[in-house]
Homo-oligomer: 304 residues x 2
């Protein structure tokens, strides 16, 4: 999974420690040949690329971007831009997940809305997986829906997770794919499949919790998870009895503290609860909840 | 500066409020046609793109990316990858600034190492500015160097700033460019030029302080500056008598606090002081400095 790339200003990671070598030139006042300049797993930003270039290197070994095939499933979906008929909705998840996948460093092959029959669906997925490290689907994994995805994943590999105690995100599904007629396993392991729920908030929250760290692991990042910061809850976070809940919050500064306010109704279909959210607050299952004024660790998406 | 773009997962901004319109479809439980769904200046991440797509929109009006021509100047520079002779160094700033410009949302036209004579230099810059919103140069603006850049900027427009009370970054230069033989001013105003210092840390710090906010302004972002957070200094920050200093620090968590530690020698040539830094701490000019244990607002580059 290691490739030599030209220095290009892309954000990539180095797979092993990078040292100042024989072709070392003035990087700074305190470096000598043989000193380590970048650790394995370092994300290459402007300063890190500058340091590497200052040693005279025109290319660096980096992890390549994971290739992800992205598919939406659901009888109710129409292409965004086409007028939905009765009971239909635009396939908005595709575009939200495309943006989320790119932000996480993936190259995306957009398969569009899945065929509604088992054989064409299987042919499409098998073909796409010839050139992909991972399959990400949205929708079609809930009980009671016309689900062709889970049987397909079972026929191509092993479904390890078919449900999680998470709100939003209960129908989240995870599988490893290694069976014929897929090509041989990839050099670094099996292909993986993430079946995300169809509700827009559920698909993006399970992406944050499960898919993004996995994609960062594939890229060799030392830091897999979103950073967390302590925040003071500005509202009473009511719990869900049987599931951990990731509530969406905005943050604002009050003196030296960050105050977390709810983005409003936390319905899984209400994407406005995530648009503009700065962080996710994890509320444990049970009947306690977290009272306003408490300090909690929030998963930071962006800072105000 | 407004263009219609296909939904692509790119991070762009909306120039005006986006409202749920006649082609509104189920975005959530609490929206009705006419409600505002995205404010002007919003950065379009996954959830925001999902919200727009859920309204049935296949394209959005957004600001286009600023086009920046990037040039390195200095007799001592050789192309990265070529072996430097005596007194020469690789042109590492080009690659660091390319990465920084892209992170800030710009499309970059890399001009390479500037010609060493006035007329070829002028021809190159005038040609590049036909299709650019901004010129960014590094090096060649210090007193005593063989500087062709400042006279060129003076002949093409007005140099407003030729020196700043900043460490690192004293030679920072800013000009607006509107004179013949440049094409007519752009519809949204004059072209601008940023002459960054040649020292690697100086060029990236002045980029952070001056160039990145300007590029974000051109893109219509509501949030122009890096976010700040209160951090506790883990070291004595010694001041510079006559210049504000931006010291590079790493951050670590200690209980509910972020502790800022110096990245070591803050020499302008020591890019290792910026590689891996999480934040910049502003130390006012004078003889006071900031003692260890003080709380200061740090400009956050990334979180630990």
């Amino acid at each position: 999974m290691v490739e030599d790339v030209q220095l290009s200003g892309d954000t990539v990671t180095v797979p092993g420690p990078l040292k100042a070598g024989a072709n070392f030139h003035k990087v700074g006042d305190d470096l000598k040949p043989g000193d380590r300049i970048l650790a394995a797993g370092t994300q290459l930003g402007a300063a890190e690329i500058g340091v590497a270039a200052a040693t005279g290197r025109a290319s660096l070994p980096v992890r390549r971007r994971p290739r992800v095939a992205l598919m939406s499933t659901g009888d109710e979906l129409v292409e965004v831009g086409n007028r939905p008929g009765p009971g239909q909705i635009p396939d908005s998840n595709r575009w939200a997940l495309l943006a989320a996948l790119r932000e996480a460093g993936a190259e995306v092959n957009v398969l569009g809305i899945a065929p509604d029959e088992a054989e064409p669906l299987r042919a499409l997925v098998v073909d796409a997986l010839g050139d992909a490290d991972a399959l990400v689907t949205s929708g079609g994994v809930s009980v009671g829906t016309h689900d062709l995805v889970k049987p397909l994943l079972e026929s191509l590999g092993t479904v390890h997770v078919g449900r999680v105690k998470l709100k939003p995100g209960k129908p989240f599904t995870f599988a490893t794919l290694g069976h014929a007629p897929l090509p041989d396993p990839l050099p670094w392991g099996e292909r993986v499949a993430f079946g995300l729920p169809g509700f827009p908030v559920s698909s993006l929250v399970t992406f944050e919790v499960f898919v993004r760290p996995a994609l960062r692991k594939m890229q060799g990042f030392a830091q897999l998870h979103r950073p967390t910061l302590p925040v003071r809850l500005g509202y009473d976070a009511r719990p869900t009895a049987d599931r951990t809940e990731y509530q969406r919050v905005t943050l604002r500064r009050d003196g030296l503290e960050l105050i977390a306010e709810t983005t409003g109704s936390q319905s899984s279909s209400r994407l406005m609860s995530l648009a503009g959210a700065h962080a996710l607050v994890k509320v444990p299952a049970g009947d306690q909840g977290i009272i306003a004024g408490s300090i909690v660790e929030a998963m930071i998406l962006s800072l105000p």
